[in-house]
Subunit: 337 residues, 2 copies
């Protein structure tokens, strides 16, 4: 298959290369008649623009970058990432933008990737996930002049464009939910506090439980099923055990439920469990798990759209995507006795 270029189109349409370019890009400078003729020829020849050539001259790559600084294990376990990527893709595909995905092991490697991408002019913008408190990626991206949309709270986004969900309200709702059921001893199995969203939830959890005079305990983990299980075991075998546990993801909640059952206890009779990030999993355990639900796919789509807007000249802004909704299921109940 001989590749078809605009030069070939120009030859067949009897115009110059430049005119063809104008015609194909809907730019002024050619008559409607010529434009139609060129488009027809391009159609017939099944012309597709060569990305490299376009990128080289137009200095746009029509590609967004996404770096995931997590282990392959974590990525496969956490439904969040793939759902998010799927959402991003759903928007990009329509604009025929591509997504460059890079999985790295650490934050420094993530920074190096941005530097490389910026130097290579490989991406037009990046999507930054797992936002941290005092995130070193923010000053770097600023220095590199790489357009970016951060996934995280405006309070830690330092004025860059970001899309966030209201973790504070969500956590408050979760705490109020268990309190309204009568629980007074509530535990929180959290992720790593370096992560911005965990930090936000830590604050909200502390504030809400103080306000409601709850007796609380917080355990920080690495988000893994293993540590979620270990934390649950420690909590449930301690002298005074909590009657409700709020988890920072659903994987830990599922693992926690297994530990509860293994200890011969039952949810919700012995303990109320609340998961975060309501994936299918939460609807397919026994009992089904109460969860903080958010539309991850939609979240990804929103972020992608905001990055497109940013490149179209929109001012960097903070956009509230949604407030997660608490879905009450069978793992919620009054405290024992």
């Amino acid at each position: 298959m001989a590749r078809v270029t605009i030069t070939e189109i120009a030859r067949r349409a009897g115009v110059s290369k430049g005119a063809v370019s104008y015609a194909l890009n809907n730019q002024p400078g050619v008559s409607e008649a010529t434009r139609a003729r060129v488009l027809k020829v391009a159609e017939e020849l099944e012309w597709v623009p060569n990305r490299a050539a376009r990128q080289l001259s137009a200095a746009r790559s029509e590609t967004f970058g996404l770096v995931l600084a997590r282990t392959a294990k974590t990525l496969s376990e956490e439904p969040f990432y793939m759902g998010f990527v799927g959402g991003v893709e759903s928007v990009l595909a329509r604009k025929s933008y591509a997504l460059a995905l890079q999985v790295v092991a650490s934050l420094p490697e993530e920074l190096a990737t941005y530097r490389k991408w910026a130097a290579e002019r490989r991406v037009d913008g990046v999507i930054v996930v797992d936002l941290r408190v005092d995130d070193p990626r923010i000053p770097l991206l600023r220095r590199l002049g790489l357009p970016a949309v951060l996934v995280g709270d405006p309070s830690i986004a330092d004025g860059m464009a970001c899309v966030w969900t209201d973790g504070t309200s969500a956590m408050t709702a979760a705490v109020e939910h268990v309190a309204s059921l009568g629980h007074r001893r509530v535990a929180r199995v959290a992720g790593t506090p370096e992560h911005g969203h965990v930090w936000i939830r830590d604050q909200a959890f502390a504030a809400a439980s103080r306000r409601l005079s709850l007796d609380v305990e917080v355990v920080h983990t690495d988000f893994s099923a293993e540590e979620g299980a270990a934390a649950t075991r420690a909590l449930m075998t301690a002298g005074i055990r909590p009657t409700a546990i709020v988890y920072d993801n659903d994987l830990m909640a599922v693992a926690g439920l297994a530990v509860v059952q293994e200890l011969g206890l039952r949810s919700p009779y012995d303990v109320t469990l609340v998961a975060w990030d309501d994936s299918t999993l939460c609807r397919h355990t026994h009992p089904t798990l109460t969860a903080m639900s958010q539309n991850i796919v939609g979240y990804g789509a929103e972020v992608a759209q905001r990055l497109l807007d940013l490149l179209d000249g929109a001012r960097p802004q903070a956009h509230l995507y949604s407030t997660p909704l608490l879905i009450v299921r069978d793992s919620s109940g009054p405290p024992p006795r």
Copy 2:
């Protein structure tokens, strides 16, 4: 940050553009002294090649493509995909290859994506997952001349390069496992039979159970937790229920376990459950799930390496990655009574 090009390096090193290119690419045509000088200047200026320019002239994009024709929901639920992508990345990152990921809704869209990529010269090769029986992607990729490594059995790869795991042996081992525990009525909750690996397992399941004179039943689903749960419910509430169920992924197995519990039954006492694709999930249910384990991340890495080899001129071959290993856990036991 003014971008640094080879022209700038040439100026500073006092040689021509061409010489710089030879020096930087370790090609003959420059003296060692000049090469060293050029490399030093490039180092100092922190030069990074512009991908578009290189791609345009060298006709290589240093990018591999991966199309996933699944819904975002499925992708996020199935740990397979993200784990696989992680494995692919681990190899590509070392070679500074990039991965173009595209999520589409259907097989026709996947075909269209290949056509587009081929026309745009966007990728040097593609990785094809979810191989089907009589897969229409095979003739298309052949026609487009797009190098590809298929993830699936050689019997349906039609001579193209592929990497496979021995699903037949694995299924045989699974059936022998439950048979050796004394089970005579065994069910299989399978995925969609269009998928090659499901088809292979269907054959193996039928053959093994015939050989062992087992009484079997096969239910095909779409791999989702919902259908896995529904299939399990149907099986377990029928007149004669199976005493062992083998699932085609772990999500359905977990959902199946919940259904079993919901029906007031217990595993393994009432039913033995075997999952496929041993993710973390299987180790964090109660009881823990017996599963067919394979190293998904390693699988992805192997596939990526084979595609690199293919571009280096290796003959298209079938490579056996590994035979999945049955990990026996608490959901395995003798049949009731």
